[in-house]
Symmetry: C2
Subunit: 334 residues, 2 copies
């Protein structure tokens, strides 16, 4: 989508600033009774009007006579909001600027289920607060709902990287709390969901989106989600930090997993951050570059990889008999 | 410090580009046999030479005739490295741009000890790879050392937010592996360390630094570390996500804790990301704005806060009798 960011900003924050759709500040505009925070880049203003560190936070430091000039909202704005007239929860920040210019900043949270070591991710467009959650866990739905509610997010989709065998997914519980939310899983998984996605499909949340890549091997229906600016990839159980998902149950296939990782994930930029579905040593993330270099399994050739995977001799997953049937219905128990 | 970034880049990466200390690209420079990746901003070049998304990753897309122009290394460079001539581990990426212009990007990792729910943080200057670790855990030293080694980091300091009671700190084990590393703790803690710091002290790792703030209350010697651009604060047990450290043992004092959080932490920008020493629900981070709004204890007035803290009736910490004496010597057992 081609987001008209400045217009969004006006609608959302009721800024007293007058600027047109291109981000021009009208002559004579003054900060008056306006409180801004975040980082700003002002283009075309006399240098002496720009604070040394370019950061304004809180009214006391907003001593910038705006005057006439271009207000560049794609490069430097982390969060540009007027705190007055906003619902309280709306100024909760913690945003990440998009690597690609023109996209709204991202609200991003990584959450861990300490029981199954499953990572859940919340992503939101910082301007509209439209949000998605990736791989929610049923027993943690209350925690996730609290964060979503407090941050004033509008939860649109619960995405599942695959039919998990170690925990029941939280989509069903979250939908009970957020009725507008729809569950999403790959068509290839064969599971029931509100939305079935195919490789190349894009799941949009206002000005941001993730694109589906098929990464089968751990299961037939495994997919990864690549953030629009390719700064992050959510790899499920296909690629783990210095490891990968097992291939000895469900429709596991080590040859297929190797090809998925090498053609769909290792082709991303080296500095794309890898956010997996699990880590059993408490590591939060990795990068494509690191895994291409240091993954002890996936740096091997395909024959050696298949030998490694065939020789793991892992225990039968404790919760698989309850979890898989429930997850084929996105978290509904029979 | 006033970092000469361009010079560092030359020293580190042996780029074939010819540019002077101000980042000017000499006339006639061509990409030739050079491979770059990362995001770049080229200033002063004809527009038609700039790729639509401003992102170059991998040799196939480096079709930019550099020509003469200014190569702006403070705004847009995430990672500017020539992959040839580099030690293998040196191109491992995953950097965060500094909010304040002119600082090198940050390598940042959050790690969890699943046993004690303790977060450990690794921060490094992405250009020089000089690094610090905050609150390492002794039983996880091997995991941390593997990451530090694989990423080619030069570990300078192990910082402790306080004398922990729930785990033995990993500084001693890490120093055995990285002999140049020095342990750091607040002078007010009374603990032995290579470096004793006081409020306002800055711990530098090449072009980046953290500044010490005294945040007593959980213990007398508790401190928080604020990243140079104020984008992150490491709060130890003073401020937790929707909570705070207990005040009923060591030198715990709820009045002092309340004052620490309100004067030293809640005065940071709302979008400063809070990275605590623990979270028992698997939440990775929060923001100052959120905690000012939603912390169920610290949003109360001081009298009610003191009543809440006096009524917690928590169990005696399991490991305190072994951990505290060891941590008074930064992780050395008697």
């Amino acid at each position: 989508m081609s987001a008209d960011l400045s217009q969004k900003l006006v609608n959302l924050t009721k800024l007293d600033l007058q600027y047109d759709a291109c981000g021009e500040v009208a002559s004579g505009t003054t900060p008056a009774d306006l409180t801004l925070y975040g980082s700003f880049v002002f283009v075309g203003l006399p240098t002496e009007n720009i604070l040394p560190d370019g950061v304004l936070d809180g009214k006391p430091r907003l001593d910038l006579p705006l005057g006439e000039g271009k207000f560049d909202m794609t490069m430097g704005v982390k969060t540009a909001r007027a705190m007055k007239d906003l619902p309280k929860a709306d100024w909760v920040a913690g945003c990440t600027e998009a690597a690609a210019p023109g996209k709204p900043p991202l609200i991003f949270r990584q959450l861990l289920d300490l029981e199954s070591s499953t990572y859940t991710y919340i992503l939101a467009d910082a301007y509209t607060r439209d949000a998605i959650v990736i791989d929610p866990v049923d027993t943690m739905a209350e925690r996730d709902a609290e964060i979503i509610t407090e941050m004033g997010l509008n939860l649109l989709f619960a995405l599942n990287t695959h039919v998990h065998a170690d925990h029941v997914n939280g989509a069903s519980k979250l939908r009970a709390l957020f009725p507008q939310m729809r569950s999403v899983i790959s068509r290839a998984s064969g599971a029931q969901a509100d939305v079935a996605v195919a490789p190349g499909d894009s799941v949009e949340f206002a000005g941001r989106s993730v694109v589906v890549r098929a990464t089968p091997g751990h299961t037939d229906g495994c997919c990864s989600f690549v953030l629009d600016d390719r700064s992050m990839v959510f790899t499920g159980d296909a690629l783990l930090i210095r490891g990968c998902g097992r291939t000895d149950f469900q429709q596991g296939n080590s040859k297929s997993l190797y090809e998925s990782v090498h053609t769909q994930l290792f082709t991303l930029p080296n500095d794309t951050i890898v956010y997996p579905a699990h880590d059993y040593k408490g590591r939060g993330n990795s990068t494509i570059g690191e895994e291409r270099m240091f993954n002890p399994r996936l740096t091997k050739d395909i024959e050696e990889f298949q030998r490694i995977m065939a020789g793991l001799n892992l225990a039968y997953p404790k919760r698989i008999d309850a979890a898989v049937p429930a997850n084929m219905k996105c978290g509904l128990y029979d």
